[in-house]
Structures are given as structure tokens and as C-alpha cells.
């Protein structure tokens, strides 16, 4: 049948489509199972990828190096002018900028207080004027917890601020618990003198020189410092994000693939098919033709299931409302109102997920059919009187 005049892929596909229609229940079962399998695997993988891309994008806006003064008690305020003076002596360290920020207690828990636009993501700033003393621009979680549009923060002192604006939703990952205040309010709140800073942000001419410049910077200051470089932090965040997806995949994949094997066997298996395959064989179909027929059927059901599963995963990751729930379920963090993730590279990721599920699925269909065809033929042959 596979030679000249035999069914080629096109008539075989028609035959396969007819069989899919005849076995509507089994086909629907296989479709539902495959769709769920793809959605369950693709959602954490796609989420971790999107999270890693988004975090990397955010981190690109941060300084290459951050210098913090430390003492026996941990973090200590930095004398701003002296710190800039020492940092400027280090070749390759550009634009040393003292930053004023810290953590304070808000109405619903700890919040991060910042003072400079440079500490904020570009997405959080469009058209926003800096807050005047007594005013604050806040993240969504802080705004929800505020009473009468006023915010009370406590740290070294107690400060009451009027909320004048809220950061946009697309910056929620960074600004969720952020409070942007005027420097005088921050100093009062954090108990810092006018010439003190929380840390020193340093930009580099070449990011590859971070480790070398960090060593020079550490030697340049007369007090002990801790220096954090952006690349190490980005790598840590990326690994954390990817680790979530891989952990979810590693936990679920073996069980799901084993289940896939069993399901595929049950749906395409030889039970009750021997007679039918025997008829086709008697008509001249070869084993290869029977396998092709089963593979065509599997593709007819599997491809739409794969597409729908991937689409559901995309929705769960890239729709802001759904993404917030996905983040809550996967990361176990605070429930966010919405979460906008970067979709760069998602297509390649989807293709990889399709391959991870599709290849074992096709192999399962192929092997199950082959075993069924061979078993049917062998039992027929060995049960015959002539044997």
C-alpha cells in the first residue's frame, strides 16, 4: 500500500479524519488530556521565562554597582560627599550618586521609601512630578491600605503624608510596596542627617569590568563597605525565576509523561482493534501504513490540543489579572492585583514546550501502535492451525 498506487499522506489524512470522527469519545478524551498536559507544563515554564526576562529588563535600569557602608551592627549611613570624593578616584567608576532610601513601617506592613527618580523604573514615572514635602507617590498595595488618601509611616520618626498619585499598574512588580517621598521627609523618617546617604550608586563604562572596579572601590574607601554588582543580582534573580519553572517541570513531567503513555495506549491501543487492523492488512495495508494512520490521527487530535494548551498558558502568564494569580500560585508570594510580564522570546519558549510534550507523545503513539500491530499479527499467526 505504501508503494505506487497506495495511500499517500493526503488520502491517509482523510481516512484518519474519518476515524477521528467515528471515535469521537476517545478523541475528545485524548484532546482534553493533551490540552491539560500542555497547559500544566507550559504555564510554569512560560511564567518563569517571562519573569526572568522582565526582571532582567528592570535590572538594566539599575546602577552597575551599589556601595553600602557596613559596621559591626550591619548597614550604616554613608557620608555622601566623602563617598563621592573617594569613588571618583577609581578609574572606570562613573557618576557616583548618593541615594537616600530605606524601609519603614506602613499601615499594612513594611514599605520601601525612595526619594530620587533614578531609583524608580521608567514605567513608573511618565508625567509624574516629584512629590513636595508632605506628599507621596505610592504603589498599589500602599494606596489600598491608606485611609482618606493619607499615609502614616514610622521608622525613626512618625511622618504623615498625603498621597498625590499612584504608580501605574504596569510597574506593579517593582512599585507594589514603594513610596516616593521628598528628601526632607525621608531624612526625618529614616533618622538621617543632611549629609548622609543610604548608599552610593556607581555606573561603569563597561559592565564587564564590574568585578575589577568593585575591588578598587572597596580599597578606595577608608571604612568597610559591601559592594553589590548588577550582573550578579540579575543572574541570581534569573536563576530564581528559571528555577521555579524547572522545579515545577521536574516535579510534574515524569508523572505526566507516564500518564501520557498510559492514556495514549488506552486511546490508540489494540483493544478491539485487532480485527480492524486485520481487515486493513488483508486489503494490503502494511504495518507502516497502519502506523502512519495512527500517527495521522494523533496529529489531527494532538496539534489543536497543543495549540489550545499553549494559548491557555499564554493567557495565564501574559494577561495581567491571570498572571497575578499564576504568580501567587507558583511563587507563593503576596497576591498582586495585576502583573504585566515581558513577552520577549515567548514564541521560542512555546516551541520548546511543544517539542517537550509533542515528541514523547508521537513516540508513544508510534510504539503503542507498533506493539499492537505486531501483537495482533503474532497472536493470529501463532494461533493458526498451520503453525
Amino acid at each position: 500500500m505504501s508503494g505506487d498506487g497506495g495511500p499517500r499522506w493526503s488520502p491517509l489524512a482523510v481516512w484518519a479524519a474519518r476515524e477521528v470522527q467515528r471515535e469521537a469519545g476517545r478523541s475528545c478524551l485524548l484532546f482534553a488530556f493533551l490540552f491539560l498536559l500542555v497547559a500544566i507544563i507550559a504555564t510554569p515554564m512560560l511564567f518563569s521565562h517571562a519573569l526572568a526576562v522582565t526582571w532582567t529588563r528592570w535590572m538594566e535600569q539599575t546602577p552597575h554597582l551599589v556601595v553600602r557602608r557596613i559596621d559591626a551592627g550591619g548597614w550604616a549611613p554613608l557620608p555622601a560627599e566623602a563617598a563621592v570624593h573617594y569613588a571618583r578616584k577609581v578609574p572606570g567608576a562613573l557618576d557616583p550618586t548618593p541615594r537616600l532610601w530605606g524601609v519603614a513601617t506602613g499601615p499594612a506592613g513594611p514599605v520601601t521609601v525612595v526619594t530620587a527618580p533614578a531609583d524608580l523604573p521608567a514605567e513608573g514615572l511618565p508625567g509624574q512630578r516629584p512629590p513636595a514635602p508632605g506628599e507621596a507617590v505610592v504603589g498599589r498595595a500602599v494606596a489600598d491600605a491608606a485611609v482618606d488618601n493619607h499615609l502614616v509611616l514610622e521608622q525613626m520618626d512618625r511622618v504623615t503624608l498625603a498621597i498625590v498619585a499612584t504608580f501605574p499598574d504596569n510597574s506593579v512588580m517593582v512599585t507594589h510596596d514603594l513610596v516616593w517621598v521628598a528628601p526632607p521627609d525621608a531624612r526625618r523618617l529614616l533618622g538621617m542627617l543632611p549629609d548622609q546617604a543610604s548608599d552610593l550608586a556607581v555606573r561603569l563604562f563597561r559592565s564587564e569590568s564590574a568585578s575589577a572596579v568593585a575591588a578598587d572601590l572597596a580599597a578606595a574607601f577608608p571604612w568597610p563597605v559591601r559592594i553589590i554588582d548588577r550582573d550578579t543580582m540579575t543572574e541570581g534573580l534569573r536563576r530564581r525565576a528559571m528555577g521555579k519553572g524547572v522545579a515545577a517541570l521536574m516535579l510534574s513531567l515524569p508523572a505526566l509523561l507516564a500518564f501520557l503513555w498510559v492514556m495514549t495506549g488506552a486511546v490508540t491501543g489494540p483493544a478491539g482493534r485487532s480485527a480492524y487492523w486485520g481487515v486493513l492488512s488483508a486489503m494490503g495495508w502494511t504495518t507502516a501504513d497502519l502506523v502512519r494512520l495512527q500517527v495521522a490521527k494523533a496529529l489531527l487530535v494532538g496539534m489543536p490540543a497543543l495549540a489550545v494548551g499553549l494559548a491557555v498558558a499564554c493567557g495565564a502568564v501574559f494577561h495581567p489579572m491571570a498572571a497575578a494569580w499564576t504568580a501567587f500560585l507558583l511563587m507563593g508570594t503576596q497576591q498582586l492585583p495585576a502583573l504585566a510580564l515581558d513577552g520577549s522570546g515567548a514564541v521560542v519558549m512555546l516551541l520548546q514546550i511543544a517539542a517537550v510534550v509533542g515528541l514523547p507523545f508521537l513516540a508513544a503513539v508510534f510504539l503503542t501502535t507498533l506493539r499492537g500491530v505486531e501483537g495482533a499479527a503474532r497472536s493470529t499467526m501463532e494461533a493458526g492451525q498451520w503453525h
Binding site: M45, H49, D231, E235, R239, M242, G243, G245, V246, L249, L253, T287, A288, V291, M349, Q352, I353, A355, V356, L359, P360, L362, A363, F366, L367, L370, E374, A377, R378, M381, E382, H387
Partner: protein, 340 residues
């Protein structure tokens, strides 16, 4: 190990191919040891049935394992370097893999060549109902196992060896070859030019042999183009690395074969090295089919047809190779009046 989804895709393809290959080997074992074409007993009928299964499984396994090997190549040259600090191309990734990466590639190439040889025998075997080549084909199918196992083991070790926190020095590995001209893999200017000319001359000679094979309808010897193809690949690989790639990079002293795969250079490495791989596999086809033709006259027609197709494939691959290597060099010369 690097926790990249591409790694899981690669392992999914490997697992799929290995399961199919393992099932095929199980069916082929009895065929290789107990094949008796004259017998008509139940055992021989079972063996014939098993062999049909083994062929089907082997074809799918070949597709799966070829896909896995391609994924490995794409991972090394275009994906994993993003996860290794300091790596900018496949050189850095292979550096991070220790020696296992290169060994894995070598074993993958050999295993796929063995499976390709089996596929040639399988195609010819299917042209006669007596299964004249069945025991040979079964043995060649089994022969791929000792190559596949180390390929998979070294792939695993290579990926486990990568430490995303440990930086590598991709450029240092390349420029050390230039700064230390006596080091391993180093090739002087004279050597590079000689390899370049030899690759062109060898390519030309192969093209003539393939053209003759095509013209005489597959009646010429297949052994000579096969041997020349194997030798040509040995010469062409360093020529691409040390000479032809410079016209893509537009700098001297950057003998890196892997940068050629990057999008910055239009992924030309895939086409250039792909043309070399096609030439080599066509050589294997010519050699195998020629031997079958001489030993089994009943399969002569099928072998001749296969040889003509292989010669045509080889010719096209060589044209592509020459176009992609000498072409940019000529364009550079016309544009600047100088050779690099």
C-alpha cells in the same frame, strides 16, 4: 547543569530517539544472530516480522536522534552561551563543558553516520523480498549503540559540567591560538592559505567526481568520491576556521568556528558546516551503495539510483560550500582590492 528549557527539549528528543532505537535494537538482535532466509518456520517468520518492526523503529529513531543532535548543536552555538558568564559563542560553551562537549559532538557525529549507513542498507534491502542485506543491516543498526551510549553520557556530563556562576574567557581561548602559534589548534598564515587552497581544490575534484557519477548514471566507482569526501572534510574544517571565516568577521586573527553560527553572521555556519555534513553523508551513501551493487547484482538497479541521487546531493552541497566560502572572499577582494 543549566536550567534552560532548551536543555529539556534536547533531553526529550534524546529520550524519544533512544526509546525508539532501544526497541528497534531489541527486535534486531534475533535477526542479526539467527537470520536464516531459506527457512519457513515460525521462528524465521517472527524474525521477519521483528525486522519489519526494527526498520520502522530505526527510521523514527534516526529522525529523533538527528533532531536531538541538531538541538545539541543549536544549544551550543546559539542558546546556552547566554547562560555562561563570559561566553559569547560556542567556544565559551564548550570551554564551560570541559572536554565533554567536544567528545559528545564527535560521538553524535559518528553515531549518526553509522545510522545513516544503516538507512542506506535499509533502503536497498527493501527493494528485494528475500532480504539480501537484512543481517548486515541489523548488525550496522546494532553498531550504532556503542557510539550512541558515549554520545549521551558525554552530553549529560557536559551539561552537568556547566556552572552558570563560573565565568569563562571565550575570547582568550580564541586569541591564545593566535598569540601562541605553536599551541594546539594553531595554524600559521601559510597553513591557513594551504588549507584554503586544498579545500577549494578538493571541493573542485569532488564536484568533478560527483558530476561524473551523475553523468554516467551511477556506474562509476563510489569508493573514490567517498574517500576524497572524507579527506576533504578534514581539510575544509580548518580552512573555514582559519581562512574563510575571516571574510565574515571582517577581522584577522579570530579563528573561531562557532561565531560563524551567530545571527551577527547570518548563521552562515549552519549552511557551511551543513554542506560539509551533506557531502560526507553522500560519500557514505556512495561507498555503501557501491559495495552493495558489486556484491548483490539483484540490487544493482536500486543501488545505482541511490548513487545518482547521492552524487547530485553532493554536487549541490559542494556548490553551496564554495559559494559561501569563496564567495565572500571574492566579494571582499572586489570591494577593497585586497585579500584578508
Amino acid at each position: 547543569m543549566i536550567a534552560h528549557p532548551f536543555t529539556w527539549t534536547f533531553w526529550a528528543a534524546v529520550a524519544t530517539g533512544l526509546i525508539l532505537y532501544g526497541a528497534g535494537v531489541r527486535s534486531a538482535l534475533a535477526v542479526a544472530w539467527h537470520w536464516s532466509p531459506g527457512a519457513a518456520d515460525g521462528a524465521q517468520l517472527r524474525r521477519e516480522r521483528n525486522w519489519e518492526m526494527a526498520c520502522l523503529l530505526g527510521r523514527w529513531a534516526l529522525a529523533g536522534l538527528t533532531g536531538a543532535a541538531l538541538l545539541w548543536l543549536v544549544g551550543v552555538v546559539a542558546v546556552w552561551h547566554g547562560m555562561v558568564p563570559g561566553a559569547m559563542c560556542g567556544t565559551g560553551v564548550l570551554q564551560a563543558m570541559g572536554g565533554h562537549g567536544v567528545r559528545a559532538m564527535a560521538f553524535w557525529a559518528m553515531a549518526l553516520l553509522a545510522l545513516h549507513g544503516w538507512r542506506v542498507l535499509d533502503r536497498l534491502d527493501s527493494h528485494h523480498p528475500d532480504g539480501l542485506l537484512t543481517p548486515t543491516a541489523a548488525r550496522v543498526l546494532l553498531l550504532a549503540a556503542p557510539l550512541l551510549v558515549p554520545a549521551v553520557i558525554h552530553s549529560w556530563l557536559a551539561l552537568m559540567h556547566i556552572d552558570p556562576a563560573a565565568p569563562v574567557s571565550c575570547c582568550a581561548a580564541v586569541y591564545d591560538q593566535v598569540l601562541r602559534p605553536t599551541g594546539t589548534g594553531a595554524m600559521g598564515r601559510g597553513g591557513a592559505l594551504a588549507a584554503g587552497w586544498l579545500s577549494l581544490a578538493g571541493g573542485g575534484l569532488l564536484a568533478v567526481l560527483a558530476g561524473l557519477q551523475w553523468r554516467c548514471g551511477g556506474k562509476c566507482s563510489g569508493a573514490l568520491p567517498a574517500v576524497v569526501a572524507a579527506g576533504w572534510v578534514v581539510v575544509a574544517a580548518p580552512a573555514v576556521k582559519h581562512l574563510w571565516s575571516a571574510y565574515y568577521y571582517q577581522v584577522l586573527s579570530h579563528p573561531c568556528p562557532w561565531c560563524l553560527f551567530l545571527p551577527d553572521h547570518y548563521g552562515a555556519g549552519f549552511a557551511v558546516y551543513g554542506a560539509m555534513a551533506v557531502t560526507l553523508t553522500a560519500g557514505v551513501t556512495l561507498w555503501t551503495a557501491d559495495r552493495v551493487r558489486r556484491r548483490h547484482p539483484l540490487l544493482s538497479d536500486a543501488a545505482t539510483t541511490l548513487m545518482v541521487r547521492a552524487a547530485r546531493r553532493m554536487l549541490l552541497a559542494l556548490l553551496l560550500f564554495i559559494l559561501l566560502t569563496a564567495g565572500p572572499a571574492l566579494a571582499w577582494k572586489l570591494r577593497t582590492g585586497l585579500w584578508l
